[in-house]
Symmetry: C2
Subunit: 254 residues, 2 copies
Amino acid sequence: MELFYAHSVEGNICLLDADESAHCVKVLRHRAGDPVDIIDGLGTLYHCRLVLDSSKGAEAEILEAEDNWGSHPYRLTIGCCPTKNNDRFEWFVEKATELGVDRIVPLIGDHSERKVYKTDRAARIALSATKQSLKARIPEIAEPVTVKDFLAQTPDQVGGDAPVMPGPDRASLRLIAYCFEDETHPRRSIVEALTEFGGRDVTVLIGPEGDFSKEEADKALAAGYIPVHLGLSRLRTETAAVTAVEAVYLNFIC
Amino acid sequence: MELFYAHSVEGNICLLDADESAHCVKVLRHRAGDPVDIIDGLGTLYHCRLVLDSSKGAEAEILEAEDNWGSHPYRLTIGCCPTKNNDRFEWFVEKATELGVDRIVPLIGDHSERKVYKTDRAARIALSATKQSLKARIPEIAEPVTVKDFLAQTPDQVGGDAPVMPGPDRASLRLIAYCFEDETHPRRSIVEALTEFGGRDVTVLIGPEGDFSKEEADKALAAGYIPVHLGLSRLRTETAAVTAVEAVYLNFIC
């Protein structure tokens, strides 16, 4: 099944941008009248008929729509510090998209080697992985933000000051992969935390190669994040991030 | 912590090959008398003192040994058809090693696009990932074998003809990620199969981009393999293979 992405849907017409049009018309040689499947990137799959086979801006008429196509039964935000090697972070973006993630926030931590991150390549990878894995919603690749700003500026993400404990009455579960050396806050397993959790909204924070700073971890704790571990192995940043996605994915839909 | 690999241990002396010696002596500038940590690739970590700082063949005296260092509490064999794009399979080898795998068998399936696979690069990646993730045992990268030969020639791997059902009395769990279209053999979730399983020895077979042939799947079934699914998402071959490792890893040590 070949999917195309419509950057815009006007009435019952899906509009493809230059890249998608070239792929549809030049590479796959689709012509007006051909049936084509198009996603809007927001969760809907449209079964269409190509009406304008222009390789610069193809257009297709919507025959039928399927909402929440290829969706997953949870909402997952991963805040992760981009790795020094860009390929590793982009690989995480691809795998997380294939498995099922809603929002990826590149975090800049006190110990991050990479202090600047451009999201355009990751966004393209997320689009291509979304089509490849037959989903209709493209995960959001947020603009980079420092760990402290993420914790401070997004109260809806972190639940303000009230410590949030897991439980069936919780709407949202916030986890941080971090080990407090003083053991004042013993870590639980991410699997355990997910199993006890009754809700479907999960946020996981993954630090850089140099880990989060104690100050960042303390702020996360104050913001209601629960320290978790991802198992016994020492994992690279991008492997830890994928493991967090796998834990959520396997917990909810496997 | 920096680990070196000894290709051979003679008495109380660890011998490093040219690559490891160059890294130890030329790059990290270790000199005779320096303390160095060396793994034998078989599960033992040796705390040593460098006695010969040759960049062609360094030698270190063993002061103390730790068996089963960084080991995991399960035995996992992944039989996986190498992807058309080599990087993707090698990425799987790296991630599986970081998480914890014992044996990776490159399988050539009836529908494999890649019919030939050279293991040397994968073996180097497994060594480097073993050191990076602080383990002492390097997973075995087996020589490529066809799916049918793997099933036929390794009775110890596949339990002969007797169908093997999961349960606490089982010594070994054999799973194949495959969907029988006729639904005569409904698939169970890999998480479910692992949860019910009482043993620690697991083998999982992952097919090529074109999936296993019906004939291969039937032979696997006869050899005691249980059809499982890896969740709702459509995963690339290498993502499916990593997801299988993650499911085992998270089941046993998270």
